[in-house]
């Protein structure tokens, strides 16, 4: 007897809701990251900047599971505190960009006219910079780098992706019958957007947010690597920079944060891919 999943189904029938294996792995990786970020710092007795001067630049051992850096700081502790920092940063940037982007995108798409025109021109201009370049320029010009600056630098062009998705989706559903019907019933634009349009365009935006989070991690790493990050020694990007500087003497310093970043980004990408396949199977192709 054939199992249910292998029998060919007509395309239009509702699929059995299942995420692929990749999506589950991705979700597991993301969950692991969140767990490390939330619970990790509580379990560890050391502070991320506490120095153990008897063990400098040492590889993994029993007292220091992932080894130590040149100041004798425990790498595992730094990774955990770094994860906490990064999760906050990523959440802040993604939420900020999402709110701004969706607000701008849906309004531009729904109201159209000059508002749409102006929005699109602004987006064009921001897209005329290769993403990371604008982040670098903003981060470089601020006198004292800090977390707020980093969030600002990432959000300057981060909202554009959400705005474009939201606008395109709004244009798609704007003329649909249920929206027209609601408008005919006298529903105002604000209520129409929040109650009728937004819930129906949410899934591509969520997918965008998953990829956006991966982007935040990579850009933070790049900025900190270039010395433009916040002055905190244990952000993952800063750990990566430190690892590069001491690479010839202690390889674990580079390998550990590199693998950590790669796993997290991989998790976000897998989750995003899986969600996209599940939520809108014929959604736009992107790299």
């Amino acid at each position: 007897m054939k199992s249910a999943s292998s029998t060919p189904r007509p395309h239009h029938r509702l699929r059995v809701p299942h995420l692929g294996l990749g999506a589950w792995i991705g979700a597991a990786l993301c969950l692991l990251f969140i767990l490390v970020a939330l619970v990790g710092p509580l379990l560890l007795k050391r502070a991320p900047t506490a120095q153990d001067l008897d063990h400098l630049l040492e590889g993994p051992s029993r007292t220091h599971l992932l080894g130590t850096d040149e100041n004798g700081c425990d790498l595992l502790t730094q990774i955990c505190y770094g994860a906490r920092l990064l999760s906050g940063l990523a959440a802040a940037v993604v939420v900020l960009c999402l709110v701004v982007g969706v607000l701008v995108g849906t309004l531009a798409g729904y109201l159209g006219g000059w508002l749409d025109e102006v929005t699109m021109r602004i987006i064009d201009i921001l897209l005329a910079f290769p993403g990371i370049l604008l982040n670098i320029a903003v981060a470089a010009l601020v006198p004292r780098a800090g977390l707020g600056v980093l969030i600002f630098a990432l959000a300057v062009n981060g909202w554009v992706g959400y705005a474009r998705v939201a606008r395109a989706q709004t244009l798609r559903v704007r003329e649909m019958e249920y929206v027209v019907a609601a408008r005919a019933l006298g529903v105002g634009p604000l209520r129409l957007v929040t109650r009728h349009i937004l819930p129906n365009i949410l899934s591509p935006i969520l997918i965008q947010a998953t990829f956006g989070a991966a982007g935040v991690v990579l850009v933070e790493a790049s900025l900190s690597f270039l010395g433009l990050g916040p002055p905190i020694p244990y952000t993952w990007g800063a750990l990566l920079l430190q690892g590069t500087n001491y690479f010839w003497r202690a390889r674990h310093l580079l390998v550990v944060p590199g693998v950590a970043i790669a796993l997290l980004v991989l998790g976000c990408n897998l989750l995003g891919d899986g969600l996209r396949d599940y939520l809108d199977p014929r959604g736009g192709r992107r790299g």
């Binding site: 005329a128 290769p130 470089a140 944060p257 790669a262």
Partner: protein, 335 residues
């Protein structure tokens, strides 16, 4: 020899482009004009934004650049050099003038060299890097993507997709040192950071580092584009009339599937220029990115401004070129 070859190529392509444009319909021409106008608008917007960089950041720009406890005469000097003692419209006028007279302003505060001359000196290195990264990325991406698409939903597909996924997930500043470790320390066959930067040998590892992300991205695109194309009606027709598999794939599917991939590859060229910042730092190569970082480290605002402007300008120009070529060559584009 190389120069004459390049000139010939440039001439040939220009003729081809003009030829393509002249044979277009008026509708297409109107589209191209509109595209040109919007590109110009983008460039203007970029220039304004770059100009405003100094002013949108809260606080006194000179304090920001030098720190609050700098000597007053240093501050005064920098203020004058950056034209910050002038009213805003005058500043903007001078900035625009410096773009058109091709100097991009003098470096502050020493006023010795123009930014443009410094940019021009390092530009070839960065362009060479970006181009070789593209040459690494595109063929590999096609290979991976087509391979995965032809064996869609098999173990091979899963393997190739996993490689591509890994490629977009690995941070490049991690990949670079790892490559160095492999091919400079363990198997010493390639030059290390700062060595042989002008030679082809020295380009190998940097272009792999810079190209990997793009390669992975394009491979994923090629795969989905190819799978989509292979399910089109005309492919079924081609199969139905008995064409061999390779002919269906290479003559019918590939040409159509690759068009969007090539377009995106062209548009990502500018992103490679920006990505070169990190690559050049890892491999201690001279280039636009190194110049930009120097400018940032020395608080030389004009250099930051100039590099940003040049990279963004090239980005816009390449995008425009790709769009125009696309519209001029693909009869299906009806705008």
């Amino acid at each position: 020899m190389a120069r004459s070859l390049r000139d010939t190529l440039v001439v040939a392509w220009t003729i081809r482009l003009i030829d393509g444009l002249l044979s277009t319909t008026w509708r297409l021409r109107r589209y191209l004009l509109r595209r040109l106008a919007s590109s110009l608008l983008s460039v203007c917007g970029v220039a304004v934004l770059v100009f405003l960089f100094l002013h949108i950041i809260p606080g006194d720009p000179v304090d920001n650049l030098l720190g609050e406890d700098a000597r007053p005469q240093d501050k005064q000097e920098l203020r004058q050099c950056l034209d910050l003692d002038q009213p805003l419209p005058v500043q903007f006028g001078r900035f625009v003038y410096s773009i058109f007279d091709g100097t991009l302003g003098y470096s502050c505060p020493d006023r010795k060299t123009t930014v443009a001359s410094r940019v021009r000196k390092v530009m070839p290195a960065t362009i060479a890097l970006a181009m070789s990264a593209m040459m690494v990325a595109l063929p590999l991406a096609l290979l991976l993507g087509i391979g995965a698409a032809l064996r869609a939903n098999t173990r091979w597909d899963a393997l190739l997709t996993a490689i591509a996924l890994l490629g977009i997930s690995l941070p490049s500043m991690w990949l670079g040192p790892m490559l160095l470790y492999l091919f400079y320390v363990i198997v010493p066959i390639l030059p290390g950071p700062g060595e042989d930067t002008a030679k082809l040998r020295g380009l190998v590892l940097p272009s792999i580092m810079l190209g990997t992300h793009l390669m992975a991205m394009l491979a994923r695109m090629t795969r989905s584009s190819m799978i989509e194309t292979l399910s089109e009606d005309y492919i079924r027709t081609a199969r139905a009339k008995g064409l061999p598999q390779w002919k269906v794939v290479y003559k019918h599917a590939l040409r159509n599937a690759l068009l969007p991939v090539i377009t995106v590859a062209g548009m990502q060229f500018g992103a490679l220029l920006a990505g070169a910042v990190v690559t050049e730092k890892v491999f201690a190569r001279p280039g636009l990115g190194t110049l930009l970082l120097e400018g940032i480290a020395q608080r030389d605002y004009r250099v930051v401004q100039g590099c940003t402007l040049v990279i963004a300008g090239m980005y816009v120009a390449v995008n425009l070129l790709v769009d125009v070529l696309y519209a001029a060559t693909d009869p299906r584009i009806r705008v």
